[in-house]
């Protein structure tokens, strides 16, 4: 079975500092997508960043970047220059490329990120 594990239930970071959220996953597939979603108190899931497994280059989106280690099945999220608006639940998610759909995601349990002013 495919699983996603987030081992940090809560993390805290000082405003303007950098924080890294961890995620590991288990799959026998070779082609898949990995995602980080943000869920603020408004409850709406917002896509932060996406990584295709066949791409060796780590994805980046402005202050957000990932460290994708395919052999280790690790997919961490780094948030640089943290802002108060980054405070939210962050979910790591996985979907296989074949037989799956980006609407059929497997999520981890989430990491609650607090940002201190």
């Amino acid at each position: 079975a495919q699983t996603v594990t987030q081992s940090q239930p809560e993390m805290s970071v000082q405003e303007a500092e950098t924080v890294t959220l961890s995620c590991t996953y288990d799959t026998s597939e070779s082609d898949y997508y990995l995602f980080w979603y943000k869920q603020p108190p408004s409850r709406q899931m917002i896509l932060v960043i996406r990584q295709e497994a066949y791409k060796q280059q780590n994805a980046t989106e402005n202050r957000f970047s990932v460290n994708f280690q395919k052999a280790a099945k690790s997919f961490s999220l780094k948030i640089s220059d943290s802002q108060l608006g980054d405070a939210a639940m962050y979910f790591c998610a996985y979907v296989p490329t074949y037989g799956g759909s980006q609407g059929n995601l497997i999520f981890g349990k989430g990491t609650k990120l607090s940002v201190k002013p």
Partner: protein
């Protein structure tokens, strides 16, 4: 451009009752997926609809059923409600497979 909209935002039901939740996908999207998010947990996939048919299903009992209409909107029905069905129900839409899924703000269901 309206995103994914869900209704109602909150509702309270009694054990044994039936409930229907509604979702309108983002404009241009034809695929709708439903998720259940229990308190303190990540969302769990319930099922996905495309071309008015259930295409994929997660590990949920038959009490959970759905429908997709010709305009791509969707309903989630839950029969014989249990206390454990209390959760946030999220709807996501995308355009066929492997395009970004957009989520609605969810419906908070409380079963008493």
């Amino acid at each position: 451009d309206a995103g994914v909209t869900q209704s109602p935002t909150h509702l309270i039901k009694t054990r044994g009752q039936q409930v229907t939740l509604r979702c309108s996908p983002k404009s241009g999207h034809d695929t709708v997926s439903w998720y259940q998010q229990a308190l303190g947990q990540g969302p769990q996939f319930i099922f996905q609809y495309y071309e008015e048919e259930e295409r994929q299903r997660g590990n949920f009992p038959d009490r959970f059923s759905g429908h997709q209409f010709p305009n791509y909107s969707s309903e989630l029905n839950v029969n014989a409600l249990l206390l454990g069905d209390s959760a946030l129900y999220l709807c996501a839409s995308n355009l066929r497979a492997n395009t970004e899924a957009f989520f609605g703000q969810g419906t908070r269901l409380t079963v008493v």
